[in-house]
């Protein structure tokens, strides 16, 4: 008996949002700009031009490496990767080959499986390196049009170990990575604009199970890479399609071709682009124009101090500090702005409550104050475009009952119970609908100056 187990690794490209390009001083802000207006001898690969690395881009790459728990290599260098393609004016791309800025990291986070059981999973990061983006190509009629505004924009490549065996974990990993990059503020990581691009590589491992239960694993002798996908869902679908396609080939006793494929999001299929053998002779060699990079322990530590609290840590802290439900803490921490906003509102709320005479307020006790605020944000009951203080004031109005009002309400409730014994009896006899009649009477008594839900809860409590 045997089965196939997917072996999946990821390559992720992230464009940094530096002001200038990686090796020259043209603006790196190319989106929507007139073609070929942010170009110079360096990024056009004119003879004699000298590339000089952007210091900020190097620091940000170190920061990404640190956020992914990598070790930062004290010595690093740039290399030339050669190939001919019109998006590359020099005939080579400046990248990093054997001495990347960061390597050997990991990322872990909570994943809930199909049974909604939560489990922490850890995936290893192979390396993080820095390179330059290429120009943009548009195919039109008998021509290919080239815009080099993007050529030379700093590009970080993150490579994972082939630690994934299903598309759900991959999607969740990519979402976590995307959130981290956004927290670091080093890239827009905008999938639609192409500032984050995804490339899964997929193969299948054959596992034979002996009668004794002993398992024999065969390592796959091929690898299929799917290039340049710009959505997490497309990655998931591309992986699922590949698993199916490769299983069919393997079951016929054949081996899938080692190749690069594209993903057709309309048809939901992958298609062959080029076979890897012919494209893989990059002749890397050290970039002679750029001296090596060397970092001291102190320099690396100084950059590490700039690491913000990362999403999964923030999530854990919110659960602990504000007694939030895990699910809400997760939602709030997906966007740093919302997470910060939540904390500011909670703070404002507390300040406003301090001003109130403590004896005069009575917050719903069954949930924490934090959870109350979280509910208002997550269920979009109040807009997060409000100033935090404004939000807190409105939150108080809708969640805090003052004791003076409460006493008035209690009186009104007693009066209504005395006045309408028939409705009370009906309710006690199981006609639960009659509670709404009683609520209406209390509202009438109080001229609408009370929250209907609070009245209903109170009535149910008394009539129980």
């Amino acid at each position: 008996m045997y089965k196939y187990q997917p072996v999946i690794g990821l390559e992720i490209h992230v464009e940094l949002k530096t002001k200038s390009k990686m090796f020259c001083q043209d603006s790196a802000d190319y989106f929507g700009k007139k073609p070929n207006t942010h170009v110079c001898p360096v990024c056009l690969g004119l003879p004699g031009a000298l590339p000089v690395p952007n210091k900020k881009a190097i620091e940000w790459t170190i920061l990404i490496g640190q956020a992914l728990n990598c070790s930062i290599n004290k010595v690093s260098k740039f290399d030339r990767k050669h190939y001919f393609y019109p998006d590359l004016p020099k005939g080579y791309q400046i990248s990093q080959y054997d001495e990347p800025i960061a390597s050997n990291g990991w990322l872990k986070f909570q994943i809930s499986n199909f049974k909604f059981q939560i489990k922490e999973k850890k995936f290893r990061i192979h390396r993080v390196h820095l390179e330059e983006d290429t120009g943009k190509l548009i195919h039109s009629g008998s021509d290919t049009l080239v815009d080099f505004n993007r050529s030379g924009v700093p590009l970080v490549e993150i490579v994972t170990e082939p630690d994934f065996d299903n598309s759900d974990d991959v999607k969740r990993f990519l979402e976590e990575l995307h959130t981290i990059i956004r927290y670091l503020g080093v890239s827009d990581a905008d999938m639609e604009k192409g500032s984050m691009r995804l490339e899964p590589n997929i193969s299948l491992r054959k596992i034979s199970i002996q009668d004794s239960g002993f398992k024999i694993q065969e390592l796959p002798n091929y690898k299929v890479e799917v290039k340049n996908i710009n959505s997490f869902n497309f990655v998931k679908r591309a992986i699922e399609y590949e698993i199916k396609r490769q299983t069919e080939i393997l079951e016929k006793g054949e081996t899938p071709a080692q190749e690069t494929r594209g993903f057709d999001s309309v048809k939901g299929i992958t298609y062959s682009q080029r076979s890897k053998e012919e494209a893989h002779d990059y002749r890397y060699f050290p970039e002679p124009d750029i001296p090596p990079l060397e970092f001291t322990y102190k320099e690396i530590e100084d950059i590490k101090k700039k690491l913000p609290e990362l999403p999964s840590d923030k999530e854990k802290r919110l659960i602990k500090e504000y007694r939030l439900k895990a699910q809400d803490a997760f939602i709030l921490t997906r966007d740093l702005r919302i997470a910060d906003y939540f904390e500011k509102v909670t703070d404002e709320f507390n300040k406003l409550m301090l001003v109130q005479d403590k004896a005069s307020v009575d917050i719903e006790k069954q949930q924490s104050l934090g959870q109350t605020i979280a509910n208002l944000i997550v269920n979009k009951r109040l807009s997060t475009s409000l100033d935090p203080e404004e939000f807190a004031k409105k939150a108080i109005t809708s969640t805090v009952t003052y004791i003076a009002d409460r006493e008035k309400m209690d009186k009104a409730v007693s009066k209504v119970i005395d006045d309408f014994p028939k409705a009370v009896e009906d309710y006690k006899a199981g006609k639960t609908n009659s509670i709404m009649f009683l609520v209406g009477q209390v509202m009438k008594e109080m001229k609408g100056q009370v929250d209907a839900n609070t009245v209903k809860k109170k009535l149910i409590k008394i009539l129980k």
Partner: protein, 96 residues
Amino acid sequence: MAKKTLTKEEIIHLSKLANLSLTEEEIEIYGSQLSEILSYIEQLEEVDTSKVSSTAQVTELKNVTEEDEVKEERSIKDLAGLKVNKDNYFTVKRIR
């Protein structure tokens, strides 16, 4: 001195990587010239490097970087005379 001779297949492979299309005659000529150059360089193998650590550069410079600043004056303003169309795109023969 050991003489390294490149095979015809190697020369064809290299010419592809260098984006050159060579005639049979040129494969013959460049093949032997490249082999000679390789043999010449190979003389370096005779130097005892057992006590020298490897390096990728000889300038002894390190950490040469620029601040993250846009210097528009370094951008090329006018692409006139180059192969650009009316929308300022470079144009090449369609590649796919």
